[in-house]
């Protein structure tokens, strides 16, 4: 029988879904290389158990309702089985698996158990739902190509199963008076939203994906410690095994970088901003105080490596490498929270054009090695304790090709770990807060784990910003342009209390009034790039913003220095590898303000760049996700609004549209033989009836249904179509007709479709009490929306069609 065949197909499809989910999970859990043989054995065992179990359960199902108690016990047993096995495994071998893996294995076992019992529809649907969950989990933690193939197959089989199940549901719709149908429209809408979200995460902007990362299943992540963790970032110890397991952290395609040319920070700066040049006619540092000029000259004579200065006067050369080419090559990868400012050099003296690097500190912070969880960490103990520093943030860097011995690191570094490096003499301080390796450069593919503190800038009372007299960090050139900049700075902070509020005001005014343009350079002949930027163009690169902010703050008496390094941009976050690549075009320059002794805090005057905030709580994460999503939606508001309006219009006029489409399709393909024509005509009429508000119950013949709507009017053209439909579907093939009859068939169908328009059908349905009376459109839509909302909450509602018992079906 057709219905039984369909049911059996659904059973088989649900088994296939469960097996695909199981396959994906096995691939995800063992993609680190335990081999195909093991996976194949596990799957073979599962298939055999399923086949044997299904034979037994099939016989049980033929007898009637499922033994609910036994099934509950079996499900509980299947959930507990991996936990018991794990307990034994840990007690005998000492090895274990992460808790979430145990849970998902339990869920997988339950899914397979339910697949075994899928002869009963309730378990079949539960099995399909759990399969979907297991599959989503597997897909989210795995990058194995086999997993993606399984996902595709799962999607195909899933759609097939859904279709079959939908038709089964339609067949049984009138089965019981108490049966309540699902709020299909709302389920479809929810599914659409989820799909849209997943699509946004999958193919949308990286920022969106990044925001959702915290909700992906993983362990060893933020504030979570598990010795069996399989992956994760931040303060979890999973980063430590990550150094041993190349799969868990690090770019796989690192081989290609071995042949690439390694860049130093200076190469990257020159490539990005253009090469520095100096006007021949300009006397350098003429306007600085004499002692500082002498200091600059002393440093220049002592420096062993030329080109350490950072010039704000640059020009782009024709032979410069295009940025697009650089973009594809990562210098290093960052794992952990972003955005992140990784400084490599700091500058203190500024002569109007050039920033001069800060000399090595006279006294170094204490360096000592400390063992944490079996790993050697370099501990950096600051001589000063700052009340605004708190927390503990972890990042990991995998250096690919960086021609420098300096470690790109965030501010307030607390500890560094490099595998196999267990002596503090491997490290040295190049500048204050700038740690370097005691060698020429960092070896490629080195993984550097960094632990740093965060600055709490929320509590204003603890933000002490000292104002000092002229010094290394507060002196400014004494010329007309700088004085003009100082005047503007004073004007901007006129009504703001002194201290951190002034700093924030300068930053925010720069954000508001200036435009970031990475390619902007000062024109030829410019003698004061910062003045040109602030007073003329208001458009410049990040070093223009940083220099101007530094000059303005210095003019207000604050101690400010310039930092250069890299900016790990969250927009570059790669969801699959869970890392942020940092390339040569991610070089960045920003100012730092000295708050307390030994505490330099980064500020970000350049629009488009952000500072790393404190780690968000769960609520903040949710809010953050929503904020990022809404921000993304706002950026694409025109498209979204257009789509929404279009969607609303299509939704509002979907029924007439569908009807027109169906009629067009019928005209194009009316069917071959007279019987086919009749059947197609009837199907079209039934479809129209469904669109009018009520579908024919599956237990009612079409003739009964339509005669009821036509009030048994034998003269109605519909009556003839119904008689023809009976003949077409149930008369033996020997009951043939001639060519004239074919003409009559076509005419009869046309007359029926013309006479029984959508509105007439709706009226007939209303007259028979099968659908509610239609109200005026806006109120009707509101009413429908409210009803749908209610249904969405209540999940179930009374059957709409033929809810009354017995007599209604007649």
């Amino acid at each position: 029988m057709r219905a039984e065949r369909a049911q059996l197909t659904n059973v088989r499809l649900s088994v296939v879904l469960a097996m695909l989910a199981s396959l994906a999970l096995e691939l995800a859990l063992h993609e680190s290389g335990e081999g195909w043989l093991r996976i194949a054995c596990v799957l073979a065992i599962q298939v055999i158990l399923l086949a044997v179990g299904q034979r037994y359960v099939g016989r049980l199902a033929a007898r009637g309702a499922p033994p609910a108690g036994t099934v509950s016990l079996a499900v509980a047993g299947l959930i507990l089985l991996p936990l018991v096995y794990e307990a034994c495994l840990r007690s005998f071998t000492g090895f274990g698996r992460p808790f979430e893996v145990l849970l998902i294995c339990g869920l997988r076992d339950v899914t397979l158990g339910l697949a075994m019992m899928s002869y009963w529809p309730v378990y079949q649907r539960l099995c399909a739902s759990l399969s979907l969950f297991v599959m989503l989990f597997s897909a989210s933690i795995s990058s194995h190509p086999g997993t993606f193939a399984a996902v595709v197959l799962f999607a195909i089989v899933g759609v097939w199963w859904l279709m079959g199940n939908h038709w089964d549901t339609l067949r049984a719709r009138i089965h019981a008076e108490s049966k309540q149908d699902l709020p299909t429209q709302w389920l479809l809408l929810s599914a659409g939203i989820v799909t849209l979200l997943l699509a946004t995460v999958s193919v949308g902007e990286n920022r969106v994906a990044n925001a959702l990362t915290g909700f992906m299943p993983s362990s060893g992540g933020t504030r979570w410690y598990d010795p069996s963790a399989r992956g994760g970032v931040n303060d979890g110890d999973a980063l430590v095994p990550g150094t041993e397991d190349a799969h868990s952290f690090g770019p796989i395609e690192s081989e290609i970088f071995k042949e690439s040319k390694e860049s130093s920070l200076y190469d990257a700066l020159d490539d990005t901003y253009g090469e520095p040049y100096f006007p021949k006619t300009l006397e350098r540092a003429v306007s600085l105080p004499r002692e500082l000029v002498l200091e600059i000259e002393r440093r220049m004579s002592q420096t062993k490596q030329a080109g350490r200065e950072f010039s704000t006067l640059r020009r782009r050369s024709a032979r410069q490498r295009p940025v697009a080419g650089i973009d594809s090559q990562a210098l290093f990868y960052v794992s952990g929270r972003t955005p992140l400012h990784l400084r490599m050099e700091v500058f203190d003296l500024f002569d109007g054009i050039t920033w001069h690097p800060e000399p090595p500190p006279e006294s170094y912070p204490e360096l000592e090695m400390e063992e944490v969880a079996g790993k050697q960490w370099l501990r950096i103990r600051s001589r000063y304790s700052s009340p605004i520093l708190y927390g503990n943030d972890s990042h990991a860097l995998r250096v690919i090709s960086l021609d420098s011995n300096r470690l790109p690191a965030p501010s307030h570094l607390l500890g560094v770990h490099i595998d196999k490096v267990d002596n503090r003499h491997f490290f040295k301080f190049e500048q204050e807060g700038i740690l370097a390796l005691n060698r020429k450069k960092i070896p490629p593919l080195t993984v550097i784990h960094l632990q740093s503190q965060l600055a709490n800038l929320e509590n204003r009372r603890e933000l002490y910003v000292p104002r000092v007299g002229p010094g290394r960090y507060s002196s400014v050139p004494d010329d007309f342009h700088t004085r003009e900049i100082a005047r503007i700075a004073a004007q901007w902070v006129h009504e703001v209390p002194s201290g951190w509020d002034e700093v924030e005001m300068i930053v925010s005014r720069l954000h508001e009034t200036c435009v970031h343009d990475r390619s902007a350079t000062a024109p030829e002949g410019c003698i004061h790039p910062a003045a040109w930027f602030l007073l003329e163009s208001r458009r410049g690169a990040d070093y223009h913003f940083a220099t101007t902010a530094a000059l303005m703050l210095r003019s207000l008496g604050y101690q400010v220095r310039l930092a250069s390094g890299f900016y790990a941009d969250p927009r570059n976050y790669d969801l699959r590898s869970r890392q942020t690549p940092v390339g040569a075009d991610d070089v960045h320059v920003w100012p730092e303000v000295k708050l307390h002794p030994g505490t330099w805090v980064s500020i970000e005057p350049t629009p488009g760049y952000e500072l790393l905030g404190p780690p968000p709580g769960l609520l903040e994460q949710v809010v953050g996700v929503l904020a990022v999503l809404s921000e993304s939606a706002y950026r694409h508001r025109v498209g979204i609004i257009s789509l929404a309006v279009l969607g609303c219009l299509v939704m509002a006029f979907r029924v007439p549209l569908l009807d027109r489409l169906a009629i067009c399709w019928w005209r194009l393909a009316p069917g071959g033989t007279p019987r086919q024509q009749v059947i197609r005509g009837l199907q079209l009429l039934e479809l129209r009836c469904r669109w009018a508000g009520a579908a024919r119950p599956p237990g009612m013949p079409a003739t009964t249904w339509f005669r009821r709507l036509a009030h048994g009017d034998g003269a109605d053209p519909l009556e003839r179509l119904l008689q023809l439909a009976d003949w077409a579907a149930f008369a033996p093939l020997s009951e043939t007709s001639d060519v004239e009859y074919r003409v009559e068939v076509a005419a009869s169908i046309r007359q029926s479709l013309t006479t029984w328009s959508l509105s007439r059908l709706r009226g007939a349905l209303q007259r028979c009490g099968l659908v509610e009376e239609r109200r005026s459109r806006p109120s009707h839509m509101l009413h429908a929306t409210w009803q749908g909302f209610g249904r969405g909450i209540a999940w179930v509602r009374p059957a709409r069609v033929f809810a009354t018992r017995g007599g209604a079906a007649r």
Binding site: M1, R2, A3, G64, R171, A172, I174, H175, A176, E177, T673, R675, Q676, I679, L682, Q683, P697, P698, G699, M700, P701, A702, T703, T704, R720, L722, Q723, L724, A725, D726, W727, A728, A729, F730, A731, P732, L733, E735, S737, Y741, E744, F802, R805, G806, G807, A809, R810
Partner: protein
């Protein structure tokens, strides 16, 4: 114009269809406002089944049976069942002929075309069994001698649902011999007024107002043979089996349809199709005869079986409207 006229133009059955329509009209004239009951009675007749009417006295059972007998041109007999009714009072008996010195068989009332067994549940089980053998096998066996009954033998049995005192309810096995169970019910107000008007000036003599014979006995047999030949598509057969399974699996039904019951159901569906001038059965035919056919043979746990029957019919999807393949 109906479908069959369109699809079976030139059929040789047109005379039979016309005759059936005449019988239907004649019976409708006798039993006013009960077209559906008349149709069911005719379906029973065409399907060679027997009819059980469960209703109160005075609703026209005898009139209907007599009119039917007159219409089909056959003999009519009536048996008023009482507890002292003997099997031989129905089937007949052997009597010793002193002239010929031999036993002669004296036919009972079953030797007719239409038999009305009034208040059958008042007869003893033994007498009921004798009648039911005649209904099922269309023969009477007496002293190891079989006496065949008329091929058109048709029984209309009645029982009163209100009075149960001193009755012998028919067992399920015997109920299964009936094709249908009907209830005539009271006529509508207008029909009753018309009935009163028609009785004014008319003789009370029984049979005086019966229709003239519209069917020759051989024509009735031919029509019954035509009914057997009405086509039943495989999808319809599967549908009927699904319905039968649904009756067996329904928690409110203690005894579902037997295979003999399905055969009767199919035959009545064929008869319904024939009555509609069709030569093939549709799902609607199956559903139209389902209630009278099922109500006589299902044992349900409710006083009113109709809601349960409706549920069963609604729970099984009708066959899809698709063009049958050549194997069906």
């Amino acid at each position: 114009m109906n479908g069959t006229e369109m699809v079976t133009t030139g059929t040789p059955l047109s005379q039979d269809f016309a005759a059936i329509d005449e019988v239907r009209a004649a019976l409708n004239a006798v039993l006013r406002g009960k077209e559906e009951v008349v149709d069911q009675v005719l379906i029973c007749l065409l399907a060679r089944g027997h009819l059980l009417i469960e209703d109160r006295p005075g609703l026209g059972k005898t009139t209907l049976a007599k009119a039917l007998a007159d219409a089909v041109g056959g003999r009519f007999a009536r048996v008023q069942c009482t507890p002292d009714l003997l099997p031989s009072d129905i089937t007949g008996f052997n009597i010793f002929n002193q002239k010929t010195r031999e036993f002669e068989f004296r036919e009972g009332p079953v030797f007719c075309e239409v038999l009305l067994a009034d208040e059958i549940n008042r007869a003893t089980p033994r007498t009921q069994s004798a009648l039911l053998e005649a209904m099922a096998e269309r023969q009477v066996t007496l002293d190891a001698v079989r006496y065949p009954l008329a091929g058109e033998f048709f029984v209309i049995a009645t029982q009163n649902p209100a009075e149960q005192h001193g009755t012998y309810p028919l067992p399920e096995a015997q109920l299964d011999r009936f094709a249908m169970k009907l209830s005539i019910g009271y006529p509508g107000r207008d029909d009753e007024v018309a009935m009163l008007g028609g009785a004014v000036g008319r003789s009370d003599e029984v049979g005086a107002s019966g229709p003239r014979p519209l069917f020759a006995p051989e024509q009735l047999r031919r029509v019954q043979d035509d009914v057997v030949a009405v086509a039943v598509a495989s999808s319809i057969r599967e549908y009927m089996v699904s319905l039968a399974e649904a009756t067996r699996n329904n928690p409110h039904v203690a005894l579902g349809v037997s295979p003999r019951g399905i055969l009767t159901w199919q035959r009545t569906a064929q008869a319904h199709a024939f009555l509609e001038h069709r030569r093939f059965v549709t799902p609607d035919d199956v559903q139209q005869v389902a209630r009278p056919v099922l109500s006589v043979r299902l044992v349900v746990d409710a006083d009113d079986p109709q809601p349960i029957l409706d549920d069963i019919l609604a729970s099984v999807p009708v066959p899809e409207y698709v063009v049958p393949d050549s194997t069906s």
